[in-house]
Symmetry: C2
Subunit: 568 residues, 2 copies
């Protein structure tokens, strides 16, 4: 049996998972391992500007590269803690990420000297305790015998549960030898099978409900269908049954938005009226992978009684009030499809509203939110990766359709601003691997300020995303929630079009930057074939009014105003 470095063992497993990029920042507790990474033939080290951005990048990479994982490498304490918010976001939004922290040698961990990056009080387990809160499982590597099994355990968890995991790699263990035998057996990547008896009972029950509803069924697709890898099975159900389908915001792009049986975004009372009516009047709702967070459910305003709902989840199923644990949708769906496809003719009679983008005629040339999003919708192309930051962007884009085979990323549950910038880096790298088209980012001026330096890494890696910066003089989404004229919602106005020149495009050959002040200028740009072709990194500063918000945000703001109580 051949012996290999534990560091190499870990890399072999990551390669097996399809990892081609690793994100992070060097530090003296991971430099040894980094030699192995830099020398690895298929895994590329993407040195980031800081660890939070790196974690966002790994997150974006994992979201686009379905079936693989995002990998983050940090150094002890200072590095790993800087990425905490990124890890928690991946946990919350169910993104498979592997966080490898380079930590002191086993001898140092035993004797606990007062090393730099320690808390100075001898606690060497504090960072692990914090990481436990935000990762599904942890591999605290302590010896050569169990290291391989420990690595395998958490990597399997990561893929199967779709949640981040955490590995501590001591400096000495990275170069300690372990048997490579385990590598002959591929990592387990799928959840255990549904119990056959329970599953067939559940299927019978669902079929009965569909019959009772006389085929008046509507499907809502949501986040977990994407995260738990059930999209193919879901599409098969839809195409074979003909049921009308709608997406929750976090399910956007799970279903091609050009599909003729697709009706648009259902988000409780924030939905367009015709969508709300169609969904809420159906006799039966088949909800696939739902995640009812505030912003994903119109502030909890689903007006659908439980007695008309069947919910399929990653590893459980609900039929009305009955819960069936350990019955997961990925395996259930194909069997269900087979039983339901007979009803297609009937289902096709159910009307589905057309979800399209209507560019309004406005009398002035100001770039309003109401005009901007439908106009952008016409700019998108199939297979584009489209990313929208929390703020007016994440609300504005909901109301317009995206093209076939496009991929949509947003962080609607976690909502950490700045996330899209790192995420765009990771997404653009993954898009190359997956033969996708352009990567297009919409980010607010406020949000971009949190993580701006990562534009530099995009230049370094030769990436060519198109970045629309919405310059509306600050935190507009907040102005709608509270403090319309407050100074705390103002930001410093940057020279946005100067950024790329400073952050790495020193001779101006790697990027282009534009400011568009009105509809005419934006239209002209969007129709310019050189711009459309995205041959270099492009940044577009879009001048928009400070007190303008998309329809969905205006309604959401009214609803949350009632929830967040202030005396004033």
């Amino acid at each position: 049996s051949e012996e290999i470095y534990i560091g190499s063992y870990l890399l072999a497993r990551l390669e097996e998972l399809g990892v081609t990029s690793m994100f992070g920042v060097p530090g003296d507790f991971n430099l040894g391992f980094l030699d192995l990474v830099e020398d690895h033939p298929t895994i590329d080290w993407v040195g980031n500007c800081n660890e939070l951005n790196a974690s966002y990048a790994a997150d974006g990479y994992a979201r686009v590269k379905q079936g693989s994982v995002g990998v983050l490498l940090t150094t002890f304490g200072v590095g790993e803690l800087s990425a905490m918010n990124g890890m928690a976001g991946a946990f919350s939004e169910m993104v498979p990420m592997v966080h490898i922290a380079g930590v002191p040698s086993l001898r140092q961990q035993a004797t606990k000297p007062m090393l730099h990056h320690t808390l100075g009080d001898g606690r060497f387990d504090a960072y692990i305790k914090a990481a436990e809160q935000f990762t599904y499982s942890q591999a605290i590597l302590t010896n050569t015998v169990s290291a391989g099994a420990e690595i395998d355990r958490v990597l399997s968890d990561c893929v199967i549960k779709g949640r981040p995991v955490y590995i501590t790699l001591p400096t000495d263990l990275a170069y300690a030898k372990t048997s490579s035998d385990r590598l002959k057996i591929p990592l387990p990547r799928h959840p255990s099978p549904n119990d056959a008896d329970v599953e067939s009972f559940v299927i019978d029950e669902i079929v009965k409900q569909v019959a009772e509803a006389d085929g008046d069924v509507v499907v809502i697709a949501d986040a977990c269908a994407i995260r738990h890898d059930a999209i193919d099975e879901l599409k098969d159900l839809l195409y074979k049954t003909g049921y009308p389908v709608y997406c929750a915001p976090m399910g956007k792009s799970a279903i091609d938005e050009t599909y003729e049986r697709y009706g648009g975004i259902y988000v409780g009372s924030i939905s367009r009226p015709e969508i709300k009516e169609k969904v809420e009047s159906a006799k039966l709702i088949l909800s696939i992978g739902s995640l009812k967070s505030d912003f994903n459910s119109g502030n909890f305003t689903y007006s659908i009684p439980t007695t008309r709902t069947i919910e399929l989840h990653s590893h459980w199923t609900n039929i009305k009030y009955a819960e069936f644990p350990n019955i997961g949708m990925k395996q259930l769906l194909p069997k269900l499809t087979a039983r339901l496809e007979g009803g297609k003719a009937k289902a096709l009679q159910l009307e589905v509203p057309r979800f399209d983008a209507h560019v309004p005629q406005e009398t002035d040339d100001i770039i309003s939110q109401a005009w901007f999003w439908p106009r952008m919708s016409k700019f998108f192309e199939p297979k584009d990766v489209i990313i929208a930051e929390t703020g007016t962007s994440s609300f504005g884009i909901l109301d317009v359709p995206l093209p076939k085979d496009s991929v949509f990323l947003s962080q609607i549950l976690w909502g950490s601003i700045g996330w899209t910038v790192g995420s765009t880096l990771g997404a653009a790298l993954a898009a190359k691997d997956c033969n996708l088209n352009r990567t297009i980012l919409f980010v607010g001026d406020g949000s971009l300020q949190l993580t701006v330096q990562e534009l530099s890494t995009m230049l370094r890696k030769g990436l060519k995303p198109i970045i629309f910066v919405l310059n509306n003089s600050g935190y507009t989404i907040e102005r709608f929630l509270h403090g319309k004229e407050r100074k705390y919602n103002d930001i410093v106005n940057w020279k946005w079009t100067g950024l790329l020149g400073v952050l790495g495009d020193l001779d101006g050959t790697l990027s282009k930057s534009y400011t568009v002040n009105n509809k005419s200028e934006l239209t002209e740009l969007l129709e310019n074939p050189k711009f459309v072709a995205a041959e270099v990194l492009q940044l577009v500063e879009v001048m928009m009014p400070k007190h303008d918000a998309p329809r969905a945000l205006q309604v959401q703001a009214e609803l949350s105003g009632k929830t967040n109580q202030y005396a004033l």
Copy 2:
């Protein structure tokens, strides 16, 4: 008894502690409280670009404004977790910081809806559990009755222990009323008194040791003397006894480096030879507030037997091998001074090497590390605040003296790069309050990339630090530790002199940027009175060789190479 908002109560206590600036980023769980902050007559809201930078700023503010605290305000989850590394750094380096996190209303905390910024699994206590690892104490506010007492408890802890504390402020509680009665009693700010019997025993014992050493005593001042507010007492001891004094790196600037009985930096085997000889040959070492971390002790190479050491600490005392708990230096020192001042004449006979900066004559015009630091030393003025980032800077500056009444900040134990940038913002604001002189930052090109956006906030606040960016093509300190020619130690070269124009100085009136390529250019700049006067924010890009490091770093690197074992 008058009733006030809990939010106002908290602000009243912060005002009492001398707080004039609050750092952080708005978010919908703190916007209500922010109204109170914005309307507060003496506390200024400094909106930062992101939360990590904000925490660094609060840290820098607290370090300069001795006796006060640094305050950080964040929003639930996304905000507070982004600042985790900053909080841990303040814990490690013993900086009094108050982290206020705006959190959901009490009703939401009870019903646990799936709000944005939650983990999606109903755990509303995960962020608290993480914060517990990195703060001394926590006030989880849950009602109007105990809120005032809880706030007082942690604020007292913060000041007395010199460690960060954490307060969760629910949206509704910020505007709930509480009695203002407690505000009539000032916050307790001092540790409980030493036990008189033990203290006098300890003093007798120390006096005996000094006599046995025949007055051959050397003092080493270190971090905790600064952090635990014992500088005045220490100086009094030194002036009245005449003992030679040296500082550890983290104690640098505790003692005026122009003081004739001051001999320079003692850092184990990394010390200059004449300093090492003088310290290690003394019969008795009086160590004040020592903190023996790796980089603060020359990788644990103090060559001083415990049998020749007396250590005074914040709340304990060690005489050789004997430990005396709860005997703190602040109260002990004045009594000790009274007993020891008789020996002054004898002590003055002990020779102290002169600690000065010798600018070497070099044959070329390249800005070497060996030339740079002594040259910079001549540029400093009394009362300057001088900040050095982890990297070649934090090592280089050790070997040169700083002027009288200057303040020196560095993060030698925690060592999180990027820290100085936020810290400079906070330090410059505090420097105004404290009538200090210029704020001068030395930061590596690699480090500045982590937190660069905070330059923008300096411009917004009209601050005028002088920022020296050491452009040595990447992570030079790491090249000395491992991976001399590795790509992972390279960074993207930025147009450093373009930064300020892009990040807010749109018309070029608020700042000036320079590049100096050689000794002559730097010298000319340093002699330019307009530059010296620091009338606008100034950034100087200093071109330095990639493979050059200060003497102290070269030795340290050799020592750590032995500690971090890699097989390669």
